[in-house]
């Protein structure tokens, strides 16, 4: 235990050295890909949404290629997963409501 405590500052410094570039890479991608919508994005999104609803109503999804269908399904599933992550945050536990 004492040996571990002695090694700790060295370990933390190594972790920082190794981790910082990786964190910077992650941050570079997260800033663009995971960012919340800016206020300018929201009217664009609403416009897009009405287009998509119109497409759904005239059933243009029947003309999708298999590739398009797969990609769109996966994107839909991903959005659904954000809901479930939010639920986990709200209920304060990863598995089940700990009442």
């Amino acid at each position: 235990m004492a040996a571990l405590v002695k090694k700790l500052p060295g370990l933390i410094a190594t972790a920082k050295e190794v981790g910082t570039p990786k964190l910077m890479t992650f941050w570079k991608y997260a800033k663009v890909e995971l960012a919340p919508p800016s206020p300018a994005d929201i009217p664009v999104a609403i416009g897009d949404l009405s287009t998509k609803i119109a497409n759904a109503q005239k059933q243009s999804f029947r003309k999708w290629t298999v590739n398009q269908a797969v990609v769109n399904t996966v994107v839909g599933l991903e959005v659904a997963c954000w809901f479930f992550i939010g639920e986990c945050i709200g209920k304060g536990s990863l598995g089940g409501y700990q009442v």
């Binding site: 663009v32 809901f83 992550i85 709200g90």
Partner: protein
């Protein structure tokens, strides 16, 4: 790191809005359900805590009665005299 990583993908605003709206809805739903389930569970716990002494007393009375019956039976079978008011 010999590989060059690709440029980050520019995500469509609709997808961004949907994702973060879904996240917010999920957090709200999670807190709401948690509060409701906790209230129910607290009620059940309170009821059990209230009834526990009553149930314990009932169980103890039943156990005492059955014990008395068994002792009387044993006394009869073994011919032991039963004391007054047992």
């Amino acid at each position: 790191m010999a590989v060059t990583l690709p440029e980050p993908v520019r995500v469509s605003p609709l997808i961004k809005t949907c994702r973060w709206t879904a996240l917010g809805l999920g957090i709200w739903w999670g807190t709401k359900r948690y509060a409701a389930l906790k209230a129910e569970e607290d009620e059940i716990r309170a009821y059990n805590a209230k009834m526990k002494p009553i149930w314990d007393a009932e169980k103890a009375a039943k156990a005492a009665a059955s014990n008395r019956e068994q002792m009387i039976y044993l006394a009869k079978e073994s011919g032991t005299p039963i004391p007054e008011g047992f």
